[in-house]
């Protein structure tokens, strides 16, 4: 028997993985600092320290920093949630192109919130979240249904097309509801293009339980989802309750993105970008991809938010615009090299 340790399936790349993880952790730290420092009014590192650690500091710059803290925390949480949501959607649909925005799920979530605001006078973040989740779940069901129609069943590209078409319809409905209400356009604009700019601590407190339970569930399901990637039959043969697993993980993915959309609007492509980067590095192991997608998603969204502030200065460009600018070309690139079976 060959007992060569170098050939052991897990562990032979431990140090390599650890190095990559440290790099991403550093990247995360850099994005946090950048988010606190840059903006329409950039501050010095001294101001940063004062804003962070001296609650009594009365300098203007320190106040700017402490105002940026909730925004930074919020964008980290949203990015993490979207990263995990994308990883779950890709695993469940066995579709490397799946992502909350590409499948239209967060546009559906957004539409429901807009309807709620326009016709039912909802106004609290708690109400937003529940409406948004209902919208996300319904859209996911519809898109999956459309994508599975026809003789070929559900193929990655069909699902993406179904998502794009559904998303186009839903966005036009959002516009139709918004346009006659131009007096609230500013409040509404957020629902067309996502942004983390409206963040405050209340948002974070409301959002946190969804995020924590969603990510926890995703971690727990990761090993079983690994088995599911080998097909329903092999997963069943390995003792996975495939029906239950598919349902719970799809639901978890949809709820995570629904909760984000409720508070940040439809921010696109984070799931796609975060997971692909991780899959390139770690291979198809969801026990690594899921947690690392949370970290890379958080970094990507936070950096996108910082870029938006810098580019749009003295105002700002919504983070959702930046992520779409980066994400759409990546989607095209991935779609062109997509084989019939992938993932």
């Amino acid at each position: 028997m060959n007992s060569n340790v170098a050939k052991r399936p897990v562990g032979h790349k431990r140090s390599y993985y650890a190095a990559i993880m440290i790099i991403f952790f550093l990247l995360l730290c850099v994005s946090i600092i950048a988010s606190l420092v840059f903006g329409s009014r950039s501050v010095t590192l001294d101001d940063l320290m004062a804003g962070l650690f001296l609650s009594s500091s009365d300098s203007y710059a320190a106040a700017v920093v402490s105002e940026r803290i909730p925004r930074t925390v919020f964008s980290l949480l949203c990015g993490g949630a979207l990263g995990v949501s994308g990883a779950l959607m890709q695993a469940v649909t066995r579709n490397p192109l799946a992502d909350p925005s590409i499948l239209g799920v967060n546009t559906g979530a957004s539409l429901f919130v807009v309807i709620g605001i326009a016709f039912f006078n909802i106004s609290t973040a708690g109400q937003y979240i529940w409406l948004s989740i209902v919208g996300a779940v319904l859209t996911a069901i519809i898109v999956y249904g459309i994508g599975s129609m026809g003789r070929t069943g559900n193929t990655p590209l069909k699902l993406v097309l179904a998502g794009a078409a559904t998303s186009a319809i839903l966005s036009s409905l959002i516009s139709a509801i918004m346009l006659p209400r131009s007096f609230v356009m500013d409040q509404f604009r957020f629902w067309q293009v996502g942004s983390v700019g409206a963040a405050n601590w209340d948002f974070i407190v409301i959002f946190l339980p969804f995020l924590v339970s969603g990510i926890l569930l995703a971690f727990i399901m990761a090993p079983s989802l690994n088995a599911l990637l080998l097909g329903d039959e092999i997963a069943t043969g390995q003792g996975v309750r495939t029906g239950l697993l598919t349902l719970v993980s799809a639901f978890t993915g949809v709820i995570l993105c629904g909760a984000v959309t409720a508070l940040a609007g439809p921010i696109g492509f984070i799931g796609l970008l975060a997971t692909h980067l991780m899959r390139l590095i770690f291979g198809p192991d969801l026990r690594l991809i899921i947690p690392m997608s949370a970290i890379s998603g958080a970094s990507i969204l936070t950096i996108a938010d910082v870029l938006g502030r810098l580019i749009g200065s003295p105002g700002e460009v919504e983070a959702g615009i930046i992520t779409a600018f980066i994400g759409a070309p990546v989607l095209i690139l991935l779609a062109t090299k997509l084989k019939v079976r992938s993932l």
Binding site: M1, N2, V10, G231, I234
Partner: protein, 268 residues
């Protein structure tokens, strides 16, 4: 050689769809520690029978009983330590390495927090060694030939360390060389560990050579079962496949071998 003591049997399995039933009440007991092969023409239900026994399909009526208990009432992960299954054309995630894929076979033996134990590593190494793929451990599955890939999949099933292993046409799409190689490896597995093998094979002559026990199906019914030398006759082949043939002795294995008779090239 370890002897498995599990008893697997079916009780009047009816499977398929309400409108179109594929199996019409199959009652079989799977002989232990044997290489069992299911044969029959296309669409006779052989694959459905295999999948039903391997709990991939839930029967409409009847049940599959393992050690006196319905397999659908045994906790799935516990069952997965006894019954392993390799479907016909499994798909692997892009870019997965050989060792990683074989390692996935350990899933039923691991819990969320347990991680990889020494036993897991040993099982994987042993499975790869047995299938002769140790050298390929760090290669990507996509880079391998069909025969190599099939050995990797079997190694994954092997790493699961089940006493009973189901395989749905493990030799399809392979060149004759690899077909023989795969069947030899499965026989190794049976001889070395006493693993009960249940598989569907298309080629009757390979089935007759490699099987200890054969189940012959036609239109969802069991027509015959037994040792190849006892049941493979001109009449049985005529009944099952509607094919005229002469059964002779395989000069290599002394098992029965069918020689089909078509409308041409017949000199008698």
């Amino acid at each position: 050689m370890m002897k498995s003591t599990h008893k697997l049997q079916t009780e009047l399995i009816v499977a398929g769809y309400e409108s179109k039933k594929i199996l019409h009440g199959i009652d079989v007991v799977i002989p232990n520690n044997q290489v069992n092969v299911i044969i029959g023409p296309n669409a006779c239900g052989k694959s459905t029978l295999l999948k039903t026994m391997a709990r991939l399909i839930k029967p409409i009526a009847g049940d599959v009983i393992l050690d006196g208990k319905s397999i659908h009432k045994i906790p799935p992960k516990k069952l997965a330590k006894v019954l392993g299954v390799l479907p016909q054309s499994p798909v692997a995630p892009e870019g997965i390495s050989v060792a990683d894929l074989v390692g996935r076979g350990r899933f039923p033996h691991q819990s969320l927090l347990s991680g990889w134990s020494e036993k897991d590593y040993q099982a994987v190494e042993e499975a790869m060694d047995m299938m002769g793929i140790t050298e390929l451990a760090n290669r990507h599955l996509d880079e391998l030939s069909g025969g190599q890939r099939q050995r990797v999949w079997i190694a994954m099933a092997l790493a699961q360390q089940t006493d009973i292993l189901f395989l749905d046409e493990p030799t399809t799409f392979l060149d004759i060389t690899y077909q023989v190689e795969i069947l030899d490896l499965l026989t190794d597995l049976n001889r070395k560990y006493g693993t009960t093998i249940v598989m569907v094979l298309h080629d009757i002559n390979l089935a007759a050579r490699y099987a200890d026990y054969i189940f012959a199906l036609r239109k969802g019914e069991l027509i015959a079962e037994g040792r190849p030398s006892e049941i493979i006759t001109d009449e049985l082949i005529k009944e099952i496949f509607e094919l005229n043939c002469t059964v002779i002795e395989d000069p290599v294995s002394k098992s029965p071998m069918i020689v089909p008779r078509g409308r041409y090239h017949v000199f008698t």
